[in-house]
Amino acid sequence: MAGKTEISEQIAYAKILDKGMKIGIVILFITFIIYLTGILTPYIPVKELPQYWSLSVHEYLEATGIQAGWSWLHRLNRGDFLNFVGIAFLSGVTIVCYLRILPILFRKKDTAFAVIAILEVLVLVLAASGLLKAGGH
């Protein structure tokens, strides 16, 4: 095992990761059941999905009128978009883990790693922000 002082942030990270992963998988499972059963009407009827999934993402967004980014938050009453809650949760767990270890790193005066961790949070938040849009093809 790594030395005791090194384990503290590692174990703290692991604990948050464990809880976050389990919660995320449960959310994903529940929202998918809601989607499959039609409890909430999906934005794209499931029977029409085969007409869209072979399109490029640019063509798909044009054909469906869906806006990319965080617009799914406005459509949580739709069975398909509700699944993005679990997807976003799983994609966000790592950010929470890094935020959890920052105080530990500062307490230990581990400045280099604290700075690296802050930079990582900024990178992940930038990716999650929706500001970065890829060009269509």
């Binding site: 085969p50 999934w53 930079l119 990716a127």
Partner: protein, 323 residues
């Protein structure tokens, strides 16, 4: 060859033949222009998601037995033999690899096999570059992506065939950067019960290599474990088990950044992502249970053959020979 491996071999040959025939019989034309593709397939809407679940379940088993990540199998195989556009396949592939890494990460960190201090600096570079790779990948036409993906998969096959592994690399002296960052550790080797002290070298070179790895992971939706392990183990000198475990954990950071790009650009379909994640996770659980009864080396060769086939398929698809 053991009975189990024979059965797996037959299953794999059947699976690939079935997927090829299904793609021909039921697939829609991926070269459609920017109009709604008329429903010409006789497959019910739930057919392909169900097949996807079954296939990812099998891939989950193979990934564990063959010692590869789910992502490197998922993208070329699903992209090559299913009617889903490569944009959505990559988005799903990243989320599948991410889910697997999130599931494995806690145990690997708690056991000390994965090293957070080794992963954090590497993850920063790889995750930032994965963003770049994801944006490039989504901007490129699909035939270029398929061609490059096919070439990359064939390169991965070559790496898997020729790359050596070093259980305990001989690192005589840690380099100044790893010393400054206190990147070193101790883990308990289960087979001998001994504590293994380790340190790394060539840290700047290793970090630079992760620039390329990050870009490729984001561009192709692959997990990047195939590249992480050789760099951590052979270039930087981390013990093999630490390299494998840290690589698996590292994916949870690298793939997070790339996955967000695909999510925020609309390249994620829940009907693809969720069956894939559940399929691979269930398959991995079964794979772990039967791992003790199989010869991993033999299964690894089966996986290599599958990747070779899938890589050729993607490459030929990209250049328009096998559409």
């Amino acid at each position: 060859m053991t009975d189990t491996v024979k059965r797996i071999s037959v299953l794999m040959v059947f699976l690939l033949m079935f997927l090829s025939l299904s793609a021909t019989a039921f697939g829609t034309d991926q070269a459609a222009e920017a109009v709604l593709v008329p429903e010409s397939s006789s497959m019910p809407w739930w057919g392909w998601p169900l097949i996807l679940f079954v296939v990812t379940f099998i891939l989950g088993i193979l990934a564990v037995l063959g010692g590869v990540g789910g992502g490197v199998l998922f993208v070329p195989i699903i992209g090559g033999f299913f009617p889903f556009h490569i944009d959505f396949v990559r988005g799903a592939g990243l989320l599948v690899a991410l889910a697997g890494a999130l599931a494995a990460g806690p145990g690997l960190l708690k056991s000390g096999l994965a090293c957070l201090r080794l992963a954090i600096p590497v993850a920063l570079i790889a995750s930032a570059c994965a963003i770049v790779g994801a944006m490039i990948g989504l901007a490129l036409p699909s035939h270029i992506v398929n061609t490059a993906l096919g070439a990359t998969i064939l390169g991965i096959v070559a790496i898997m065939l020729i790359a050596k592994k070093s259980e305990y690399p001989d690192v005589k002296k840690a380099d100044p950067l790893s010393n400054a960052l206190n990147i070193y550790g101790v883990y308990c080797e289960a087979s001998s019960g001994k504590d293994i002290n380790w340190q790394i070298h060539r840290t700047p070179q290793g970090l630079a290599t992760f620039i390329i790895i990050g870009v490729m992971a984001g561009m192709f939706g692959l997990g990047a474990g195939w590249a992480n392990v050789p760099v951590l183990n052979l270039m930087m000198g981390a013990p093999l088990k630490v390299s494998v475990a840290t690589s698996k954990f590292l994916l949870s950071v690298t793939d997070t950044s790339a996955a967000w790009i695909y999510v925020n650009n609309g390249a994620v379909l829940p009907m693809m992502v969720v069956p894939s994640i559940i399929g691979i996770m269930l398959g991995s659980i079964i794979g772990v249970k039967i791992l003790a009864k199989t010869k991993p080396a033999a299964v690894r060769y089966i996986v290599i053959v599958m990747l070779l086939f899938a890589g050729l398929r993607a490459f030929l698809k990209g250049i328009g020979v096998w559409t």
